[in-house]
Symmetry: C2
Subunit: 377 residues, 2 copies
């Protein structure tokens, strides 16, 4: 293992849009470079649902996220480590990121105790008791072996009182220090996570504290948790400028195509979200012309591809009528194909956006996309 972290990771900013904060860069990791802004599909338990790694590559995916919480419960981080780490275990050879598990502990598990030392919770699978501390979150992520790992953060709900939010921000900072100190592997980039809800003062407090800790990259957490889009964009307006410009900025758990564009225009470089795959499994397709619902009768005899402007493997081979038929017959291939296309759509959107930024037309790109989508974002 090399030390310190920086040599294995290099973030090169290549161009910043003339009219917005949007920027293109290249982020080098031990498993390859990522052209930013980039979108990571979510492979919760080490599989982007229904899709093999080759299919992800064909969709243009550069980097994949996996959930520490789920993997720690099943099969267990020790088993993944024994089997050679996430890359070898899942067959995905490119860059990977794991979250800290914090978000799921606070949203999915049954929380038993939370104090400065650690959080104690019960598994949503079988109710068994687990403990997660900053040190343990780092240790687990070192066993999993992704390229980029996250500090454990406290993720309070959207509507908690300001005092609770304040407490969570400061605890997140204290935990970030402990995560940094606990890091033993230096071939992984450990990101700090800015919290603070939609409160400007708290976002500033969080960003300032974490910035002094000199992480190689920064995430914005605690958004897309129930606030409306305007509040999210407003919070980004306040928060992103406080993050060091020479490090990647990752907006966690976001989002819709319009959210990606709005956030990129505010200087965000990295995203993850279940939306393209989850909605794909439910019959909703993303296209240049807006959202389509494949179960609708209107597609029964529709020979067109899902998206006439898309050149993905799904759009090259299959009609809307066929994908609709698969959904109506509850065939597994329906969710597979629609997830696959949706991921390709997201990747193409960001690829086009990167090109627009290079040509200083990011704001125009947003307008053109919005016009294409019409009422459906």
């Amino acid at each position: 293992m090399s030390s310190p972290a920086e040599p294995a990771f290099r973030f090169s900013l290549e161009h910043t849009d003339r009219g917005t904060q949007a920027r293109v860069g290249s982020w080098h990791t031990p498993h390859g470079a990522v052209a930013t802004p980039a979108f990571m599909p979510v492979g919760t338990i080490g599989s982007v649902k229904g899709l093999a790694p080759d299919q992800l590559l064909q969709a243009g995916v550069q980097m994949v996220l996996a959930n520490t919480y789920h993997l720690a419960l099943r099969p267990g981080a020790d088993i993944v480590a024994e089997l050679g780490g996430l890359h070898r275990f899942t067959g995905w050879k490119g860059p990977m990121l794991t979250d800290s598990g914090g978000f799921q502990v606070f949203s999915l598990a049954r929380l038993t105790r939370l104090d400065d030392e650690q959080v104690v919770f019960r598994s949503h699978i079988d109710g068994s008791l687990f403990e997660l501390s900053p040190e343990k979150a780092v240790r687990i992520q070192e066993q999993l072996g992704a390229d980029c790992i996250m500090c454990l953060d406290e993720c309070p709900g959207h509507d908690v009182p300001e005092e609770r939010l304040f407490e969570a921000v400061d605890r997140t900072t204290r935990w970030a220090i402990r995560c940094r100190d606990a890091q033993a592997r230096h071939d992984q980039a450990l990101f700090g996570i800015v919290q603070g809800g939609t409160n400007r003062r708290l976002r500033e407090r969080s960003a300032e504290a974490l910035r002094s800790l000199e992480f190689p990259g920064y995430a914005v957490g605690g958004l897309s948790v129930g606030e409306d889009a305007a509040e999210m964009y407003q919070t980004l307006d306040w928060t992103v400028p406080l993050l060091p410009p020479d490090r990647p900025r990752y907006l966690m758990g976001v989002g819709r195509p319009i959210d990606l564009i709005e956030a990129v225009l505010r200087g965000v470089d990295l995203f993850d979200c279940v939306l393209p795959t989850r909605n794909g499994r439910n019959g909703m397709g993303f296209t240049h012309g807006g959202i389509i619902r494949l179960r609708n009768q209107v597609h029964q005899r529709d020979e067109r591809p899902l998206d006439e402007k898309c050149a993905c493997p799904v759009c090259r081979q299959f009609s809307r009528a066929y994908v609709r038929h698969l959904f109506l017959a509850n065939e597994m291939l329906g969710p597979v194909l629609l997830s696959w296309h949706n991921l390709a759509y997201y990747q193409q959107l960001l690829s086009d956006l990167r090109e627009a930024i290079r040509e200083d037309r990011a704001a125009e790109f947003r307008s053109v996309q919005l016009a294409g989508w019409g009422a459906s974002l």
Copy 2:
């Protein structure tokens, strides 16, 4: 459309094993040649569950079967025709075969009336009433547009009295004549189906009558419906020699790897079965060492591929431990990967068997495979 059927189809027998009835051949169809003996995966409603056409090709699949009954109910043969036929609809460019729908009408649907004219039944999906006659079975299959289509046959259960079996054999012959007369497209090969259960006299009666009708190929139906393996092999011993040696012979709905070998050694050229995909979805893998059950604890830390002698895309990329993890977590990719491997295993088995036949060692091949499988067939 060319006429008559023969020019579009050519079955070239290339070699017959010295010690058995096993033979290798090449069957030319409008959508390409099939090296026989061959195994067709089942794409019931126009999709081999979970797998895209490219994945089938990578598994070595040459020809795919689709079920007329299911497609006629949903989306409807007229819609498939309007969308350009099965090849265009499903994206599978190679040879295809449709069954007549008879088997499902007699096993899956609720039968309402059966007489010489037609069979009336209720859909298993929504109870709606359908009629199927020999003419209609051909018409539907012409709309679907597979390369190879089947005469409507009557498929009585395994344990019916001999008089019922007799009646079914003669009705199947009368229906075969009507199917032949109804055929309007001549770019499809229409196969006759020999019935007669495990009754030697009835099999002879059926084969003789159908043989005089000069079909371009013959199927053996009514097996693998509950009789034991020895009875099935015995019935093949009686039946296959009665089929014209210069036409392909198709054993419908069979079966286990050992059944394929035993039937090939008796002169069968073509198979279909849901076993590799259905069992794959349920966590059962076929390997050179016999059957493995992926949910078993024993695979928890097993870094080996599903089958150490297999070079399929699944075995090249994933461990048993990973596939087991996917099954335990109910991840869609588990059934996808195991179905994919199982199909590759079947294709490789038949490819190896073809090579063994060419080298006059078919019986030895059977012994070697049996020894490898051990107790689990």
